[in-house]
């Protein structure tokens, strides 16, 4: 809410000398946070005075323009009292007019410094200003001609133009709707600023009593519209201008001046907080009826939108049909125009929830709607309407119709019992019941009782409904800055959970392996999955769709981290970082296609069944780990050449993460997008598949801006963490001598090394301590379609030194089983 300070101070007095900053500091500390202080003349410095044009001589110039060589009386403002010679290009004035004159030494908005300078053959000592040059709008049709009563030549012109007017902008929280008005802010100044007094309520005025002569109004839905006040003026001059001070104030408050009739309703809304609607009375046909819309009804609102109405919408109708969305926006057919001479003024109190729903349903945000949906004082409808009538009469030459329609009465405010020590218990401060009562009275409540306070909030505070609400009022007036600082003493905690610790461990491990963590948005589009090369029936294409995505290209919650991570890696390559290794851990979203999540009651704890129903409605959200690497794994240097990233690095990244949890990962051949069909490993732990790793399909690499042979992995971390080894038993190992045996086995290239190794292990028996594949050879020596796998086997017994030939026998048994299972032939 933007509020001109002078307008606020019209309704409350602050001690002489109180600065704007002192006022706004106090308002901030009691809950109306200062956003900005604006002043239209804040960029103008130096002499800006009233001048009277004494002479003006038009002088045609070679460039086709005609300038006026003027002499201007600026009183003593120029230090000499002599007329000031000024060249002016405008023509909308005449000798004798009062004008706005900036003298040498002055600075106009934009840092435009004024000095005496030679131009068009004269020394022009100053400038006669237009509104635009002063930063007062875009009007550049000519200079400002001041009214005759503006003042004497030489006087500072700032007060005349409102250039020194300060407007404070306050952030108004949704519970403090009353502060969306000068009335409410002035009241806050009263209770917040030390020494403030003399609150003059702009909504407190004598109003004519209701009588049967007013415009007929029938309220069919008194819950939706508890109070409806209608007044009427005739003989209004539609060409009457809006007085300057009203234009300035509503402009400063952020509203656009339109016409006197509209400006006046806005002015009174800003002043009192009560939205007002004006109808062209001559266009209204018959009685006004307030009701809910019926199915199929439509209305073209003031903004030109043709709207299908909802049976929940509160509307105002006349004999012609619906003429307005009550409290939200008027209709086109009864809109006030440049020929309106009779005005029907409506000040009505509307049900806030209906206002909120209608505003949301029709996507209308308006100054009126903003107030009505937050709650307005229902007792000031008559006063607000009367104030509008007064201004229309005063400035528009209108005549007030004696008829006054008032339908309904403002609902009574509830009385709430508040424990006298509640504020103390909530705040941890010593606040007596008396002090609480005093604070509550200050904000307008009626308070009685001592131990327990009976509190009735004022009609402008519909937000005060719970005892706790009143404690907040007390505490904010006592001062949040008075709350002491005391550390609570929790019972001893369990520390991080095991899963939390293990997630950290995985992150550190991957960072240690050279991977850099990134955080991507989880939004994805079908095109991203196309880029991944996922077939139509891939389960990862089953995505949770967002109703209101920021971008149609990323309208889903992703089921895989790979599109984001591949994109990120590609961007890095694009930025010239050719060797990239990135990882991400985040949840993915896997729809379960369950029923809706119930909206449960809030007046009790839901049952465990109800809570289970909530969880069942949510998609599965497992935590995934993904890595992508490209370029060099090891840099080239004086030590030798580079080692390029390969499929094995992706598998190894997962193995490292798993090893950090004490787990071993088994790989088997798979063919899954987005991986190279011959270089994709399915990874599992304890027989359970955790994900995949390998070289990314070259087409996918291209789609994501990555060089071929980039690698990736994605696994389910929840499964890994579930399986993490907890209490690992201490190992025992033998100190007897080791016996080493190497074997080279030739198998078909299609035989997985893991199978050969498994056979060797099984065949070697208990004496085998370790086995390591140290070479893979393909080529002429083993023949087409064959490969040689060279293993180093280490044998050791736990209780003795192996006898001569024992290791060799175990090796032979291993080779024999490998031959039997995999067709392996020992290489000579």
């Amino acid at each position: 809410m933007k509020a001109p300070l002078s307008w606020i101070l019209e309704h409350v007095d602050v001690p002489a000398g109180t600065t704007t900053e002192e006022i706004t500091d106090r308002l901030t500390l009691t809950g109306l946070k200062l956003e900005a202080v604006e002043s239209p003349g804040r960029e103008i410095t130096g002499p800006l005075v009233i001048g009277r044009v004494l002479t003006m001589k038009p002088e045609p110039q070679k460039n086709g323009k005609t300038i006026n060589w003027c002499t201007v009386d600026v009183g003593d403002a120029n230090g000499t009292g002599e007329p000031q010679g000024i060249v002016c290009g405008a023509h909308n004035f005449a000798p004798g007019d009062l004008v706005v004159t900036v003298l040498p030494g002055g600075v106009l908005p934009g840092g435009f410094e004024i000095s005496a300078r030679k131009t068009y053959g004269h020394v022009s000592a100053g400038m006669i200003c237009s509104a635009r040059e002063l930063g007062l709008g875009d009007d550049h049709d000519g200079i400002i001609v001041l009214p005759e009563d503006a003042g004497k030549p030489g006087e500072d012109v700032r007060p005349v133009l409102g250039l020194d007017e300060e407007t404070i902008e306050l952030e108004i929280n949704p519970d403090r709707a009353y502060a969306l008005s000068i009335r409410g802010i002035a009241r806050e100044v009263l209770v917040s600023v030390e020494g403030a007094s003399g609150f003059r309520d702009p909504a407190l005025r004598d109003t004519p009593p209701a009588n049967p002569d007013g415009h007929p109004v029938l309220v069919e839905d008194p819950e939706g519209c508890p109070v409806f006040v209608a007044r009427r003026v005739t003989g209004f001059d539609p060409s009457a201008p809006t007085p300057d001070h009203i234009v300035r104030r509503i402009t400063a408050a952020g509203m656009r001046p339109i016409s006197l009739a509209v400006d006046v309703t806005n002015y009174v809304m800003l002043e009192t907080g009560r939205p007002i609607h004006g109808y062209d009375a001559d266009k209204v046909q018959g009685a006004l009826v307030v009701r809910r819309a019926r199915p199929g009804e439509r209305l073209t609102t003031l903004d030109g939108a043709d709207r299908a109405l909802d049976p929940g919408d509160l509307v105002v109708a006349d004999d012609s049909g619906i003429i307005g969305l009550g409290g939200v926006m008027g209709g086109e057919t009864t809109e006030m125009s440049g020929s309106t001479t009779s005005i029907l003024v409506e000040a009505a109190h509307w049900d806030a929830v209906s206002m909120f729903r209608t505003g949301r349903r029709h996507k209308i945000t308006s100054e009126a709607g903003k107030r009505n949906e937050r709650g307005v004082d229902p007792t000031i409808c008559e006063a607000a309407a009367d104030r509008v009538v007064e201004l229309l009469v005063e400035h528009g030459g209108a005549v007030a119709d004696p008829g006054v329609t008032v339908v309904g009465t403002p609902p009574a405010m509830p009385t709430i019992q508040v424990a006298g020590d509640l504020a103390a218990r909530v705040s941890g401060m010593e606040i007596s019941a008396e002090r609480s009562a005093e604070c509550l009275r200050a904000v307008g409540c009626e308070v009685s009782g001592s131990g327990t306070l009976s509190v009735t909030p004022p009609p402008w505070r519909p937000d005060l409904t719970d005892a706790q609400d009143f404690s907040e009022e007390v505490i904010r007036l006592v001062g949040y800055d008075q709350v002491p600082s005391v550390l609570p003493t929790p019972p001893s905690g369990r520390g991080l959970t095991r899963a939390q610790q293990l997630r950290r461990r995985i992150g550190r491990t991957l960072a240690g392996e050279g991977y850099v963590e990134v955080v991507n948005f989880p939004f994805v589009g079908e095109a991203d999955l196309d880029d991944l090369g996922l077939p139509a029936d891939d389960p990862r294409r089953d995505l949770l769709r967002l109703s209101n995505p920021l971008s149609a290209e990323a309208a889903f919650m992703t089921s895989t981290l790979l599109p984001g991570l591949l994109r990120t890696a590609g961007k890095n390559v694009g930025h010239g970082t050719t060797d990239v290794a990135v990882f991400e851990t985040a949840t993915v979203t896997l729809p379960r296609h369950a029923g809706p999540a119930p909206i449960l009651p809030v007046d009790r704890r839901p049952s465990d069944e109800e809570l289970a129903a909530l969880d069942a409605a949510l998609p599965a959200q497992p935590l995934h780990l993904a890595v992508v690497a490209t370029g060099d794994a090891d840099a080239p240097g004086w030590w030798g050449g580079a080692r390029q990233v390969g499929w094995a690095d992706a598998v190894e990244a997962v193995r490292s993460a798993a090893a950090a949890l004490g787990l071993e990962v088994e790989a088997s051949a798979a063919a899954l997008a987005p991986w190279h069909p011959g270089r994709c490993a399915e990874l599992s732990v304890d027989g359970e598949v955790i994900g995949h790793a390998g070289e990314v399909h070259p087409v996918v690499c291209r789609a994501f801006g990555l060089p071929a042979r980039s690698v990736a992995a994605e696994v389910d971390l929840d499964v890994l963490i579930d399986k993490a080894v907890h209490l690992r038993p201490a190992p025992s190992y033998s100190s007897y001598p080791v016996a080493k045996e190497d074997v080279a086995l030739v198998v078909d290239t299609s035989v997985p090394a893991a199978d050969v190794e498994a056979a060797l292990r099984d065949g070697a028996g208990d004496l085998l301590e370790s086995i390591r594949l140290f070479d893979v050879y393909t080529g002429d020596q083993v023949g087409e379609g064959r490969k040689s796998l060279a293993y180093a086997l280490r044998f050791r017994a736990s209780d003795r030194t192996l006898k001569e030939g024992e290791a060799a026998a175990a090796r032979d048994a291993a080779v024999a089983l490998a031959a039997e299972r995999t067709g392996a032939v020992q290489r000579a």
């Binding site: 009691t30 505490i475 550390l487």
Partner: protein, 366 residues
Amino acid sequence: MSGPNTDYDPVEVTPLKAEHVEEMREAALAAIAAAADLDALKQVRLDHAGDRSPLALANREIGALPPQARKEAGQRVGQARGAVNQALAARQRVLEAEHEQRMLAEEAVDVTLPTTRHRRGGRHPITLQSELIADLFVAMGWEVAEGPVVEAEWLNFDALNLGPDHPARTMQDTFWTEPADHHVVLRTQTSPVQARTMLTRKPPIYVVCPGRVFRTDEYDATHSPMFHQVEGLVVDEGITMAHLKGTLDHFASQLFGDGITTRFRPSYFPFTEPSAEVDVRCFVCRGGEGQAACRTCRGEGWIEWGGCGVVNPRVLVACGVDPAVYSGFAFGMGIDRSFMFRHDLEDLRALFEGDVRFSSAFGTEI
């Protein structure tokens, strides 16, 4: 190989004469001393201590002597051979030491050569900051609670006193999921984790919930559709705003430096009452002389940090906590925002662009 020389006239066995043994010994010692390197010494060993060396040969002659002469000659030759072997060992040690010295000198490298052949990894600074914050609270005995990102509407709103027609629902621009009548949202705050905690545990509750949250904000230097929050929740007997203030003052001093405190301003959140905005004392100018020119707080002396308040009793009721027995407080801060002013980051987007140069700069510690 020849056997003992039994043909010799014992008296005529020249090599065993004292002066001759002395000669052989002198010659050997001289050769040892003259050996310049290990190879030369190896030859000297062969020449003077080997099987065919004069002393070895002389030793063989001892058996040919008459028994009465053997002892003396044996002693003489034995002593000589012992002296030669000692000298050889000593020379060997000296030459080995010299050799090693020389090798070490020759093997010197340029230690200023680059050594990094394996790329360096790093963790995301927001992860690190989240962990740092979690650790501050765990150190006080709090626990870290977690919950789903795709969340039930009831837990994100209704349970937190944000009913379907609450104006505050428009304060938060929510991502809704399809089908719309399934009432599932992307959580707009980590508060549903608080609700879940209260629904599943009995007080006393002392938890922090760091996590990612979503709002339909356009992506720019200060807004992101996804960002990170940390919320705290305490529910216990006799909890007051004073405890909230104490906790946040402690949090602020741990995160931003000793003596950094907080300031509360009245505000409005549906889930707390009273509610407050929390400002943290600017840790750069500390509201002192440099305040006017301070870039970090833009001359305010305070930095907007988050929101907090006393848990609204309505929330306690919906979450199964008896407000007649327990009270609580809650607070919420932006982790990204805290990171931005703590580390002087101007553009929020750096956190989500995934440029490895950004995360790498923070390594594994923050």
